[in-house]
Each structure stands twice: as C-alpha cells, then as structure tokens.
Amino acid sequence: MLASLTPLVTRFAFLSEESGHEVHAGDGGALAQWAWLIVVVPVVITFLIVFFGKKSPLKGWGMATFGMAFVAVYGAVLAWVNLQEGILYEGAIEIGKIGPFALQWGWVVDGLSIMMYFLVGVVGFLVFVYAKGYMKGDVRYTWFFASFSLFAGGMLVLVSAPNLIQLIVGWELVGVSSYLLIAHYWEDFDNVDAGNKAFMTNKVADVGLFIGAIIMALSAGSFQFSEIFEKMLSGQTSLAQFGFWAGLALFIGAMGKSAQFPFHVWLPDAMAGPTPVSALMHAATMVTAGIYLVARLFPFYQLPEFAGNVNAIIAIIGAITLFFMGLLALTQDDIKKVLAYSTVSQLGYMMAAMGVGAYSAGLFHLFTHAFFKSLLFLGAGSVIHAVHSNNMSDMGGLRKYMPATFWTFMIGTGALVGLFPFAGFWSKDEIIASGYHTASVDPTFAAWFMVILSIGGAFITAFYMARAVSLTFFGDYTGHAHPHESPKVMTLPLMGLAAFAAFAGFLNVPGVTDVFIRWVTVRAFPIVEHHAEGLNWPLVFIVTPIVLVALTVGFWLFRPKETQAERDAFTIPVLYPLFEHKFYIDDFYMDGIIRPTMGPLADGTLWIDMNIVDAVPNLAGGAAKHVAAAVNTVDQNVVDGVFNTASAGTGATGGFLRKALTGRVQQYAAMSFAGVVIIAALFMIF
C-alpha cells in the first residue's frame, strides 16, 4: 500500500486511487494566514471576561457570544473557500528549542480543521445564545461564560494543532474547562465528584496520549504532524518499529476524551453540569476530540507498516461502545443520562467508522451528530427548564405545553435514529455501508463484528429514543411545576439546530453530492478510503425497517400509562439490574481501584514514611543519645561500674580493688593509666 502513496513534498492535491475525484488545494492566502485569530480571539475573550466580565453590561455573555460568532463566520468563510479551491496551510511560531526539538505554536488550515472550526463556531454560537436564557439568574453567570469560552479556546487550540505538543495542550485545556463546568454547582459535592471523575478518567487516558506522542515524536524526530508523516512515507523513521504501540497508546488517549468503553464512565456523570455545557461539550465538540485525533493521524493508522493493525482494535472498541452503551440508555430515568449514553453510543459509531477506514463517513457522522445531539440536549434542557426536574417520571404530555421544543426534539430524534431524510440517516447509513464494504473486501472478524453491532445499535437507538419521547412528550403531565414554553432566546437556537439536523445530511449523498468528502479529504497527506458511487440499497432496506420496528415496539412498550406501577411493569429480569448498574463498571473502578489507592495504599505509604524511612534518622538520633548516655556513665565512673559488676560476681578482686580505688580522682587516674597500659601493650605486641 505504501507504494501507492507517494510522499507529497509540495503540500498539494493528489489522486486517491479508489475514489476517482481529484482534490485541488491552494494555500488559502491571507485568509489562512490570519486563521490564528480563530484560536486567539476566544482565549483573549476568556481573560477579558475574567477581569472585566462582571462590570460589562451583558455580564460577559456578549463577549463570549461575539467570540463564537466570529469563529462561526470565519469558519464558514474558510469552509466556503475550501469548497471552492481547497486550502492547505500551516503556520507556526517557535517558542523554544529543547535539545534537537523545536517547540511551536501553530495553526493548521486544512479540510479537517476547517470542518471543526465551522462546527465549533456554529454549534457554539447557538448554544451560547441558548445559554443566555437557560442560565438566566445563575449564581456564577459570568464565571460560566468565562469557562465556556475558555473551553472554546481550548478546543480550537486542539483542532488547529500542527504538532503533538499543541494538541496535548488543547486536549488538557478542554479537559480542565470541562472539569470547571461539570463542577459548576460545586456547593454540592456530587457535582464536584462528577468533575473529578471526568478529569481523572481523562488523565488516566492521557497517559496513553503522552506516551504515544513521546514515542511518535522521538522516533520521528519531530512533533510536527507534517514532518512525521513525510518521514513515515519516505520511510526515514524508526516509527514502524513502535508503530503498533504508539498507535495503541494514542488510541487510548482518544478513548478517554471520546468516552469509549471502558473509559466511558465519566460522560454520563458529566451531565451534572448545566445543560448547555452538556450540549456543546459532552455531545457536540469536546467528546469528538478523540475522533478528531484518530482522523488527524489517519495516514498513520492506515499504513499496515505502522499502526495498521490497531484499526481492528479501534473497530471492535467502537462497536462494543456503540452497542452496549446504547443498552444502558434503556434504563435511565434522567432524560439527560439517556442522551448521554446515546452520545457515548454514537461516538462508538464514529470510532468504529475510523476503525474500518471510513474516514469521511466517521467525520460526517461527527458533523451531523454535533447538530442533532446538541439539539436534543438543548431540547431536553428546555424541558428541564420548564418542569424543574431531570426525571422523565416528572414529565409526560409536554407536547401540548411546549410545541416548539417538541417539534424540534422530534426532528432531532428522527436524525438520531436515522430516519430518512434527516441528517443521521445519511451519516449512519454511510458508516454501516463503508463497514460492510471493508468487511466484504477483506472479511476480518473486526469488520463483521462492527457491521453487525452497528446494525444492532440502530435498533437500540431507535428503541430508547422511542421510550424517551414517549415518556417525555406523550401521555399526561405527571410533574408538579407548571410547564410552559421556553423564551425565544432558547427556542430560536433550537430551530437553527433543527434546520441543520434536518438538512445537513444532503451535504453528502453518495453518488449525488460529495461536498463533505471534498471538504475533509483536503489533507496534505493521502487519505485512502472507499467512496461508494451510490446508496447501498440492500443495507438501507435492512436498517430502516429495523429502526421503524424498534420505534413502534418502543412506543408500544412505554406507551403512556396511568400509574407508576404500570410504568415499572415492564422489566427484563436479568438484564434490567445489569443495565441499572451500568454493567457494574463504575462500581469496579470505585471499589477496585480508587478506594484502595486513596485508602490502604496511600495511608500505608505515609505510615512507612513516618515509621520506617524516617525511623533510620530518628533511631540514629535516639541511638546517639543512648550511646552518649552510656559513654557518659562509663567515662564518669567506669571503675565504679566495672568493679561493682565484678564484685557483684565473684567478689574477690573486684571487692579488693573497689576498696582500693576509693577516690574519684584515683578512679580517673586509674582509668588513664589503664589506657596507657593497654596502648603500650598494643604497641609492644605489634
């Protein structure tokens, strides 16, 4: 395969041999050279809000939203230009050298990053607008927006990264802002713990990221992606030797951020944060960082000489995630948790797609999912706003009270479950199709596993969404507050997102439009993947019926009921508790790892430190004191001592000498003279 990929010294277009279309790219001119503004503006705004937010008229909301608007517009323009002629640009400033390595801040402008700029900008903007209404009168309104645009900044640092270091920086920045926002209501320790959980889980995964990055950088001799790839393709790197491990390590990092099994545990808890946060970070953007990482390193994962054989693992992990985490959504009563598990499962789809080499498909799902999932979250948020509760058991029949929310939520649901013609249909279908293609081209276990589970996943998705919708919007209202439609500032963003959720799919209709593919394949390095000439009709005719069946079954099973008892009536004996306890994974982490570490292990170490390591000096001190005391006594009345003991035994000599040596002075003299005799004897003998 390597042969077919000629290294591109000029960062320009190339022919991807399977899909015949050609991708042209220019350097984007001034537009690309100034693209660093996209990153810097939100960061600067963060500081502005921190220092002046409280005094500013809009309490910081204005600045934050302006920042996102800027990013959105800039991103859109870039996207447009990219669509016309393609943009490949990389700029950087040096921030120091360490040994042979140059450290740089830089910004990449290519198909992939542009797509993310656009996504972050648009979704971010809409969510920020929505948040104005949702966060109204919040205790830490300004602080919220500060952290929010810090997140945006971090995310953009990440996606604009031309090198591993900057990627890591952005990676951790979004991590920390996510921590801040999840723990936004820190008066309650549950939220703080949720934040810690998110931070720690990611930190653990980051070990992988660090190690992967280190291996990659050291064996390629650079942090620059472009340089690493060039060396890879021209084969001047020892990377091949560590390829598998580097790939695996980096993938572990990706698993953390993208909440792949078994690192998914933090995401559902992350719902402790305010709903806009869940919408923007834990659905649309931040959690896609892992996908982005794999996509960014796609060439690396493509080549069997390097991380090629990690793909199988990626596909399998993705498949497991998309299927089993979907199952967990079935038993949740908290509507946000349902969506959270759904997110995890959708991320599984994207990851799995990457695993089977469906680059565009995975990213396309990332793209569409961003819109409809944030739409769903915001919808849920608006519901929660109305009924002051997260639990679906306090909802029901809301379609009457809040039609706008209801209809937009419906569109979102349609997109999520993959109903024609909503966005999700196209993206999910393409993933399954590409998986099927890969499986049929070279039938590996991983590929088939992925295909089958993703079809199953489609069923589950439809099933739990049917349940959620039914419990939330149908039947009679069972809550206590007085539900009401949310204000315009919240519904308008819903509609905006709904539009995207409805129509984004048409960006990429196999055989008809390839706009999206043309976007994201503008990469300095060959993206080799299969692009179908048309819809895979057999699959469509398998999946769509499955979805419809799932919906109907779901609605029927969870149709509006009179009493709580009836609602709980339907439970599957073995599985239900299993799902209820999230396969006991969280419990295992808590009781199997964290408690032992913080408890026995830590305390033990401290004990050792104080009682064993420190014992040496302390004992030395103690010993010194005692020896000193002993010597002191001997020095002061050795003769007493000696002869007391002697006379205590067989009295004769001792007793005699004791009588003899009466005075202290004479004891002294005796001592000294004894010394003399001993020394003299020593020297006479030797």
Binding site: Q636, A660, L661, T662, G663, R664, Q666, A669, A670, F673
Partner: protein, 101 residues
Amino acid sequence: MTIIQFVLLGAALFSIGLYGVLTRKNAVLVLASVELMLAAVNVNLVAFDVYLGDASHAGQIMTLFLIALAAAEVGIGIAIVLLVFRNRRSANIDELDVMRY
C-alpha cells in the same frame, strides 16, 4: 652491678609510687607517692648517665632540674591540699566528688 638492676629499681619505685597514688586515702600520702614516681625517674637518669658515660652529663643535669621541679610540685600540691583541708576539715581525697556529669 649492671644497668639492669637500676632500671628494675626505677621501675619498682615507679610502680610503688603509682600504686600509692591510686590507693592512698590521705592526700599527703598521695603527694609522697608522687615524689616516689619522680624519684624513680631520677634513679633511671643517673644510672643511664653513668652507664652511657655521657660527657655532657645530660642525665645528671636533668636530674637536678627534676629535683627542683619535684620540690615545686610538692609545694604546689601541699598548698592545694591545705586549701582543701581548710575548707572541709579533712584531706581524704575520696570525699572529693562534688562534680559528676
């Protein structure tokens, strides 16, 4: 008469003196014993001087010095003993143990 007997005499005197110093209760007797030890040295020196036939008679000269010094020593010693005796009405040195540790 060979040198060895004188040396032995000296050694004997020295040891007796030492024993006295170490065992006598009465300070005055201790002083006496000290004198014995010095005397032993004098015996040695004179004997060696003769034995060696030292032209410069360094041995004898030193003996003279030592006699003088010994006298001075004893003078000082007696003075101190008197001092002690005046303060505590006894010259028994085994009562001198005010200071320990």
